[in-house]
Amino acid sequence: MADLSVNFAGIRSPNPFWLASGPPTNSAYQVMRAFEAGWGGAVWKTLGEPIINVSSRLAGFDWNGHRMAGINNLELITDRPLEDNLKEIREVKRAFPDRAIIASLMVDPIRERWHEIVKRVQDVGVDGFELNYGCPHGMAEMGMGAAVGQVPALVRENTEWVAEVSEVPVIVKLTPNVTDIRHTARAAVQGGAHAVSMINTINSLMGVDIDTWIPIPEVDGMGSHGGYCGPAVKPIALHMVSDCAQDRLINVPISGIGGISTWRDAIEFMLLGATTVQVCTAAMTYGFRIVEDMIDGLSSYLDSRGIGSVEELVGQSLPRIKAWGELNLNYKVVAKIDQEDCIHCNRCFVACEDTAHQSIHPQTVDDGTTLLVVDEEECVGCNLCSMVCPVNCISMVPLDTGKPPVTWRQLEAQGAVHNIKIL
């Protein structure tokens, strides 16, 4: 059996699956239930000056009959007194000494306030801190959360204040609500962060009830923008994780967050540079029990490939992430439709005909049936037809172009293309 344990910037955890800071980690009762279910760690619901939450506060993004492709929330940090939380953290750590317990913190951007909370919380025996510079709503209006997290100088300064007094590793949780997350990640590292985690929620507005014209979720006839998360945000999070993992100035471990629901998702995050993964929405959708298949599936996956330790996955796909200008322009794939499996819904045809390159042609054969045939000359290999195919019967097969690999950068260097500067 493969070893699933990880060492994340000195924080040890029996497996890479942590619960992200949020409603699932609100109390000892919940975190203990989660640990019983098998979670390797938990980032406690963000501690700070207790706030008052609104009701209602969550909304689900339903898409094509699927519930909760994403969640939008207006929830702030913990609304429970700090003493209660600290007492409970101590209890949980005592009951589950082998699990990672991270305290998420958010206070006003004032040195003394940070010193005060760090000292109080580390006294109860947490394994690390996660600084919440991410909350995009509410707390940001009060000058905290994303208000700090969007400004590299503030990220660096606030992190320094924590690092000055912290005796345990400090993780900085980054907001995706920035143009380039590497700038804030670098600032965190410069400020002394031992690790970074990403992403917090994305600024969003879930919707409007078209009968009442009231925004969703509704608070007494009004609405507000909130933070978006869940399966729908995974590609955004993956990009940000891989960007940071490739950056030489961000030479600290990464905890990947955003839309992780299965062991497969977790493996993707790890291949792109995450050492641990954090989950919020999937647990909120199904309960803590989902971790059982995450562990089981990951373990089988590693065993089936003869990989001894999960840490061997970290960053394996990074060398394959290139700038666009470094991709081979002479590589070509074309769509191939498996006529046996085709159910003749013609979705690929109309997609290509109307919105791609008019490369799929219906052909009537002897028995009167119509086959969809790809013109390999015209097909540019965009993938669209294979993406819309409901039965997955279109594969994209490489075509031998007979030409040697060449990239835009090479063409540019040869003066073969007009000079567009690629950074």
């Binding site: 062991w263 497969r264 989902i290 298949d293 599936g297 089988s300």
Partner: protein
Amino acid sequence: MNFAKQLLSVIGGVTTVKIATTADEILEPLKKTVYQELSDFDVLQEANRCLFCYDAPCIKACPTHIDVPSFIRKITTGNMTGSARVIFDANPMGASCARVCPTEELCEGACVLSEESHSIRIGDLQRYATDWVRERDISLFVAGPSTGKTVAIVGAGPAGLSTARDLARYGHKVTLFELREQLGGLNTYGIVPFRLPAEIPLWEAAQVTHLGVNANTGSKIGVDISLQALVDSYDAVVLAFGMGSVPRLNIPGEDLHGVWDAIDFVDKVKRGEDVGILGERVGVIGAGNTAIDAATCSRRLGVPHVTLYYRRGEQHMSAYKFEYEFAKQERVEYRWYSTPKRILGEGGRVTGVEFVKTRLDSDGMGGMRPIAMEGSEYIEPMDTVIRAIGQSKLSAMLQLDSIGVATRAGVVVVDDQFRTSNEKVFAAGDCTFTKGQAEAMVVEAAQQGKLAAASIHEYLSL
């Protein structure tokens, strides 16, 4: 004369049926399973339809309490080995059960979606997941560290095999004694091949022997070896010998050529043995699952007219609803409220059966019993009669009293821990089956085996 020609000589000339001309052609319909092939696409769609309920009713409705939502979710995440492990962990006969369980009365009947739309096809998904590991011959379990304790099990049907599997996982040394040449009990020999091909129970049995369980096939306990000998030489003994043949009707003409015991009949057909001449008309007496199996088997052997005769009404038949529906599809016919009086013959061979009509009357104990209506006799011409009125009890052959194991009406008496009146002896499966208490089902036998193993483990750990 070979099988094919014999059949031909009788039914030749009947133009309404396609007549097979080779043994292969005759056997072909027997091999064609009643299950649709499952495409990956269909399976994923269906699995994703599962709500992944918490504390799901399907888990409770399954006698072995398979964690259905968990195995289905594992299909959706592509963790197929994990999915199969969830199934087999709870039910060592999980692949057989995926085919023979009356799912609409069990897990699927409990699915919360049955009200909103339609139940998840749990049986199909279970078949898909278990086939996945079976086709790859993946072993899912290992024997526990040896405890040095030994257990003998009499009978290697679903109950015996399940007990053996779990005892081996607890680390006990298990020896199975089975009178047939192959393991699996009725799963291997009794359930029609088009519903349960023998390769499936045989693979399940191999998963058990794989854990170091000894299998002594061809040994008849009570004849070759006495029960006393087992009790003397093992730390515990498990009785899992099932039930016996179909009892006699006790009417005149029963020894004529062409009168069959349904279980023996299906057994021979399933093993591809020659069952000789069946003729154009087969009458099956009884209306349970065994009767249906004998009837559908006859249909698939090419017999044009197969009729079931039952002394009660349609609503009283004990066959599962899906079995009944299946038999109707196979064009089996039914005569209700009829009981056989005597079997008629000519030259030693069956030619027909005289039935008498029945009606239901109070049995004085709150139930209803069928009463023959004098003067309503009628004769049905018939070439073969198959009796399928239940199974007899085997306890007499095993001389259970010699080891102090109590029986009631031939049924081994057990407590809720599957202990018999001899503290070293436990029992599970059909041999403990009393009508009205549990259903004689594979899944029930598997669960009892599991529970018996837990109970034995506790006893051996004392």
